[in-house]
Amino acid sequence: MFEAIAFYLFAFLTIAMFFITVTTSQALYALTALAAGMIFISAFFFILGADFLGAVQIIVYTGAVMALYAFGMMFFDTTRDVKEKKGNKYIIVGLSTLAAILVVVIVAVPMVSQNVVALYPAIDGVGNTQEVGLVLFTKYLVPFEVAAIMLLVAMIAGIVLAGKKMDLSITLMNDAAIEEEKNKKVLS
C-alpha cells in the first residue's frame, strides 16, 4: 500500500515536473523543474531497491549536469522568455500523444512470457552497492572502461569546443593571416 502511494505520488510529481520542463516559457523554471524531476526519479530508484543508482542519479544529475546547465544558462543569458515554435503545435502534440498511446496500448498488456531468467540475480543479504560493484567490475568491466574513455572524449571535446582554441578559425583565414597570428603566438 505504501509502495502504491509512493509510486503514484512520485509518478504524478515527475510527470508534472517534466511537463513543466517542456512547456514553460521561463528557462529558469524549466531548469528547476528538471532538477526536481530528476530527484523524484531517484525516489523511484530507492523504492525499487536500486540505492546505488539513486545516489548516482542525484549526484550526477543534480550535482553535475544541473550545475553545468545552470552555468550554461548564465552564459547564454536565457532569462528572457523563450520563443516557441509556432504553427504546427498540433503535429507535435499529436505525434507524441499518438506515440505514447501506441506504446501504452502494447505495454499495458501484461507480458505473457514468464520464462525470464535473471542472468545476474540480486543476492540476498548483500547491499545494492556491493552487487553493483560485483557486476560492474566483472561482466561490465569493458563497458565501464569504455565509458571512462567516453567521458574523456567528452572532456576533451568540451575543452576544445568551449576553450580559446576555437576562437579563431584557421579554416577561414588565408595563409598570411595565419602567419600573422602565429607570430603573435596565439596559434600553435
Binding site: 501506441l102 506504446v103 502494447i106 505495454v107 498488456v109 507480458m111 505473457v112 512470457s113 520464462n115 525470464v116 531468467v117 535473471a118 542472468l119 543476492i123 543479504g125 548483500v126 556491493q130 560485483l134 566483472t138 561482466k139 561490465y140 568491466l141 569493458v142 563497458p143 569504455v146 565509458a147 574513455i149 567516453m150 574523456l152 572524449v153 567528452a154 576533451i156 571535446a157 575543452i159 576544445v160 569546443l161 582554441k165 576555437m166 578559425s169 584557421i170 579554416t171 577561414l172 583565414m173 588565408n174 595563409d175 595565419i178 596559434l187 600553435s188
Partner: protein, 502 residues
Amino acid sequence: MLAPINISMGSLNVMTLAPMLIPIVGALLILVIDVIKGGLHKSLYVGLSLLFLAMDFFSLLDASNLFAQNGTILGMFDVMLIDGLALLAQFVIVLASMLFIPLALTHKRFHEFSYPEFFALFLFMIAGFQFMVATDNLILIFVGLETSSLALYTLIAMHNRDKSFEAAVKYFTMGALAAGFFSFGAMIFYALTGSIEINKIALVLASNGYTDIGYVLVGTAFMLAAFAFKLSLIPFHTWAPDVYEGSSAPMAGYMSIVPKIAAFVVAMRFFEFLVHSGIVWLDIVLYAFVIVTMTVANMWALVQTDVKRMLAYSSISHAGFVMAAILIGTTQANSALFLYWILFSFTNLGSFSMLWISRQKSIPDHQMSDHSFDKFSGMIKTAPVPAMIMGLFMLSLAGIPPFALFWGKIYLISAAVTSGYTILALIMALNSAIAGYYYLKLIVYMFMKEPVMGNNGQMYVANATLALKTIIGIAAVGTIFAFVAINPLLEFITDFVYNSGY
C-alpha cells in the same frame, strides 16, 4: 556475504581487446606528446595515427587468423565477440581510417588539423566503432556508439566555421534523440527477455515462440528508428545532407563509410534473427525503408546544386541500397553488403578527396557554394587528370562496369534475385539509372561545358600534396582494378560471414 571471485586471465581472452586498445593508446600518446611539447606540426600526428592504425590492422590480421582457425572468439566475460562480422567491419573501419588520415596533410591549412586533439579524438572514435561492432551486448554497443558519436560531433565542429557548427549541433541533437530511441528499444527487449545480449534475446524469443509479439514489434520499432538514424534511412536521414555539407569533405566521406558500416554490422546482428523469425511486419518495414530511401534520396540528389550535398544524398541512397542486404538476410546478401561497402569506401572516399583537394578558402562570386557544380565546369580543359579521376569516381558510383561499385551492385542484386525478391531487384537496378543522372551531371559539367573565365585549373588541385595525391591514386587504382580483387575478396568475405553464422 559475497564470495571472492576467481577469474583466470586465460579465460578472459584479453587479446580480444587488443585491436581497440591500440588506437586508445595511440590517442593517449598523442595527448601526452601535446602536453609535453605543444606546437608540433600536424604531420607528426598524422604519422603517429597512421602507425597506430597500421598496428591495429595487424592485430586484426592476427585476430582473423585466430578466427579462421577457431571460429568465433568470446572474451572479457563474453562481452567481447570477435566473429567474422566484427573482423570484417573492423577491417573496413581501420582501412578507411588509414585512407582518411593522410588527407589532413593539405596544402592549405584547416582548423581541425592544426590541433593534436583532433587526432586523439579521431583515434578514440575508431576505438568506439570497434567496440560497437565487436560485441553483442547492447550496453557496450551503446557506449561504443556514444563514444564514437561524441568524438565525431567534435571532429565535425572543429572544422570551425558556421556551417560546421550548425552541422554538429544538428547531428548532436538528433543523435541524442536517437540515443533515447536506442535505450528505449533496449529496455523493451530487456523487459521481454531479461537480457541485453543479442544472441540471448534471440534465444529467449525463439524459445517462447514470440508470444509477446506486440512488445517485440515496439522494441524493434525503436531499435529500427535508432539504426535508421545512424544509417540515414528516410525519414531519419535529415541530418545527413546538412552534416555532410557542414563538415570538411574528407570527414564527410569518412562519415559516409565508417559509422555506417558499424551501424550495419549491429543492425545485421540485431535484425537478422528477427528477419528470419518470419515477422512479416519487419519485412514490410524494411522493404519500405529500402525502396523509399533509395528512390527518394536519388530524387533529391537530382536537384542539388552542390556536389558535396549531391554526394551526401547519393550516400543516403547507397545506404538504402545496401540496407536491402539486411532485408534479404542470406549469406550471399550479407557478403554482398561487405563487398559493396569495401568497394564503396574506396570510391566514395576518392570522390570526397577530389572535392577536398579543390577546396577553396574564399569562394568567388560566380560560385554558389563550396563545391557547386559550376565550379567544375570545363575542368577537362584546365585540369584534365583530376577531371578524369573525378569522372572515374562518378562512373563507379553510378555502377558503370568494370569499376568498383558495379561488382558490389551485381552481387547484391544477384542476392535479391536468388532470394526471390524480383521486384526489389528491378527497383534497385532502376534506381541506379536515376542515380546515373546526377553523377552524369558532374561529368557533364566537367567535360562538356566551357571553363569559367580566368580559371587556369590550379584551383582544382590547390590543396593537393603528395599525401593527398597518393590517397587519391590508391582510391583510383582500387576503383579501376577492382575486378582483380573481387574474387579473393568475395571468397574471404563469404567465408567470414558464413562462419559467423549469418
